[in-house]
């Protein structure tokens, strides 16, 4: 309620001038013509050929006309829904949202501090913590369960998330046909395939392979998702200097070409089906070959490609807020906080990556609670400077007088919650004495305590017992032939 003119400015970060966005897209189109894109799924190739692309073996040259047609049918916005069917993640609406990083192979063991292979029980724990934290607008299938046979791993972890959460879900398949059973499972949760298409709860990450390749796996997933009208999120990963040009701008061009080709394949199979301009690019560290997710250039790549996606009118996704550090230390806080902040300022619709250590290899519930604080700070910044009073300061300063009686002003009590973010106890603002009395807890200790509190407060969201039984039957039927244990790992923990 600003009484006088002067609306707050929404802070934003851009790295490309409009003319540079144009040049990036021109070169991306140029790449689609020459050398073209490798597409390794026969049906996708046939669709492209049928639409007028020039095909030689697996090499497809895509004319600009096809790209324009695909961009015309791809929706600029859509929502993911929670279990009740309410919109909960809004793509393309100008809202910045966050979810945990996906598919870790390890977890940071809270008791030992070791990185150890992740299990179904670990996923249950992660889901509960993410469910309790409002910082996370969506869940993700955050780890791979080492105690579940690989052939059913993608379906199974989605099942565990559905058991423990009512939030939208960012997921992904592990094989060309992997989305099929996963979509069936989501349809059970949503009350049918039509209901799922009308109010999708999940988005599937689908990756092109750098440079300029849609493998059978990626292309097949795009086709199947488009036909089921379940949202797809392209996660293009130009690795600057390793699997893409070393220049940031060159990698953004490659990203654009891969994603434009993806939109074309996807829209040919399902015109109007929702698709996201996303990615997880990074630079390649020239000393180790590691792909550092916490590098500032990695964040810059996300900012730049998201700008290109927005210029095309598409919803955007980024992979930020992860660290290359191994524990909850200063490096983890620094890299994760900067990443979340930069991504938020770039206005990316959905930012994945929270909880991740060791360059996306390791997930941690304790890091999720720490990252939730960084995310809250980023959101606070996006909220900007408000003007809720008739005079900006004059009335309050006069009322407080020279004795600085601000704390006893009714305005102070009325307004401080809107002005100030109240961090959880993970953020230490105590006095030195209080901190020493507490036994000098460091970030990791405070985070562990908070995780335990959240786990204790967690209540499993309601799930219709009939639906749960049907989902369990489906997972058993698909999983047992793959060697899934009959006692269903993690399920006891999820139901406890």
């Amino acid at each position: 309620m600003s009484a006088l003119p002067g609306a707050p400015l929404r802070p934003s970060l851009r790295l490309l001038g409009d003319d540079l966005v144009g040049r990036i897209l021109d070169e991306a189109h140029e790449l689609l013509r020459d050398p073209g894109v490798r597409v390794q799924d026969p049906e996708a190739v046939a669709l492209l050929a049928g639409a007028g692309a020039e095909v030689a073996g697996e090499v497809v040259r895509i004319p600009a006309r096809l790209v324009a047609a695909a961009l015309a049918t791809a929706p600029g916005s859509f929502d993911l829904h929670d279990r009740s069917g309410a919109p909960a993640v809004r793509y393309g609406a100008g809202v910045v949202q966050f979810d945990p990083g996906s598919s870790g192979v390890n977890v940071l063991d809270p008791a030992t501090g070791d990185h150890r292979p992740s299990t179904a029980d670990d996923l249950v724990r992660l889901v509960r913590v993410a469910e309790m934290l409002p910082a996370y607008d969506a869940q993700s299938t955050a780890i791979v369960c080492g105690d579940v046979p690989a052939g059913v791993g993608d379906l199974y972890r989605l099942f565990l998330v559905l058991l423990g959460s009512a939030k939208p879900i960012v997921t992904g398949a592990f094989s060309p046909r992997g989305t099929t059973a996963m979509v069936d499972l989501l349809a059970l949760d949503a009350g049918g395939r039509e209901a799922l298409a009308a109010r999708p709860r999940a988005v599937f990450d689908v990756c092109p392979s750098p440079p300029l390749t849609w493998t059978e796996f990626g292309a097949r997933n795009l086709l199947d998702l488009a036909r089921a009208r379940v949202p797809a999120e392209m996660v293009s990963m130009p690795l600057a200097g390793g699997a893409a040009p070393v220049t940031l701008v060159g990698s953004v061009v490659q990203h654009a070409a891969e994603c434009l080709a993806g939109v074309v394949i996807h829209q040919l199979a399902g015109p109007g089906a929702p698709i996201v301009w996303g990615g997880a690019p990074s630079i390649v560290d020239m000393r180790t070959g590691v792909t550092p997710m916490g590098a500032i250039e990695t964040a810059m790549l996300d900012v730049a490609y998201a700008q290109v996606g927005r210029a095309l009118g598409l919803p955007t996704h980024g992979y930020l807020g992860a660290t290359d550090g191994k524990v909850l230390d200063a490096q983890a806080g620094l890299e994760s906080g900067i990443g979340a902040l930069v991504g938020a300022l770039a206005g990316i619709d959905l930012i994945s990556g929270a909880g991740m250590l060791d360059s996306l290899r390791c997930q941690s519930a304790e890091k999720l609670v720490l990252d939730a604080e960084g995310i809250a700070m980023a959101r606070r910044l996006l909220g900007g400077v408000a003007t809720p009073t008739a005079t900006l300061a004059t009335a309050m300063i006069r009322a407080a007088g020279p004795e600085a009686r601000f704390l006893e002003q009714p305005e102070t009590r009325r307004l401080f919650r809107g002005e100030q973010l109240l961090p959880s106890p993970v953020i230490d603002r105590a006095s030195l004495r209080a901190w020493e009395d507490e036994g000098r807890p460091d970030t990791r200790a405070r985070a562990r305590e908070r995780v335990e509190e959240l786990l204790a407060a967690y209540r499993r969201p309601a799930l219709d017992p009939g639906v749960e039984a049907a989902m369990t039957d489906l997972v058993r039927a698909v999983g047992v032939p793959h060697g899934l244990a009959a006692d269903l790992p993690g399920v006891a923990a999820a139901r406890a």
Binding site: V105, P117, V144, G146, A150, G151, G153, F174, S175, S209, T215, L239, G241, G242, A243, V284, M286, R287, T288, G289, T291, R361
Partner: protein, 220 residues
């Protein structure tokens, strides 16, 4: 006289100049320098220098890559001469390396292969998405001492087990040693599938490979 020739070879590798390396190799042949001598006293010192610079953090992956390419170009020129003279280059060991079927992650595998070759191993890189049959055939063709199997996915790491079984079925194991690596791979997994070793990074892979050929030699 030979000293300037050796210096040109060393420089070509250190500069990562493949054309200069090929030219230096041809010049060596023309000057009657035995190919093994050219390799040992001209090109290898350049490679070692780059390897040491990399280990010390003064040089970077592109330096290594370009040096390895220059070295390879020189070897391509010298190889026919070696064959004519019926001599074999002394290598630390022969390695066949690749990323297993269904998996296309290649950066880590490339890095391991490159560090092995700069450490004196003869490396045959089969690329990504490599079937067990191709691993077996390559081991036979190159008389490999070691097979390196890279897998970055939980869904594909089981392929490492399959390949070990295929090597066994082909009667190649022992003597061929198997080392495994990649994001989800652990020491426990390596022992479970009966691999001879595991390393978490490329430097460790070189140590491991040296140990494995050492062990192979002792057994012979």
């Amino acid at each position: 006289m030979n000293d300037t020739a050796f210096e040109a070879m060393r420089r070509a590798v250190v500069d990562g100049d493949a054309d200069a390396a090929a030219a230096a190799a041809s010049a060596a042949i023309a000057a009657g320098i035995p190919p093994l001598v050219a390799i040992d006293e001209g090109f290898m010192p350049g490679m070692k220098e780059v390897g040491a610079g990399f280990a010390a953090g003064d040089l970077f992956l592109p330096d290594m890559m370009l040096a390895a390419r220059a070295m390879q170009r020189a070897l391509n020129v010298l190889e026919p001469e070696l064959q004519k003279a019926a001599v074999e280059r002394a290598v630390a060991g022969r390695v066949v390396i690749g990323t297993v079927a269904g998996d296309i992650h290649e950066i880590g595998k490339n890095l391991v292969g490159m560090l092995l070759s700069t450490s004196g191993f003869e490396v045959h890189d089969l690329g990504v998405n490599v079937s067990p049959e191709r691993f077996v055939a390559a081991v036979q063709e190159h008389r490999a001492d070691i097979v390196g199997l890279s897998a970055l996915l939980t869904t594909t790491m089981t392929g490492q087990r399959t390949i070990i079984a295929a090597l066994q079925a082909a009667g190649l194991r022992p003597p061929v040693k198997v080392m495994v690596g990649g994001a989800p791979v652990t020491g426990a997994w390596a022992s479970e599938i009966g691999a001879d070793g595991y390393s978490e990074d490329a430097m460790g892979a070189v140590e491991l490979a040296k140990r494995l050929v050492g062990a192979g030699e002792a057994a012979r």
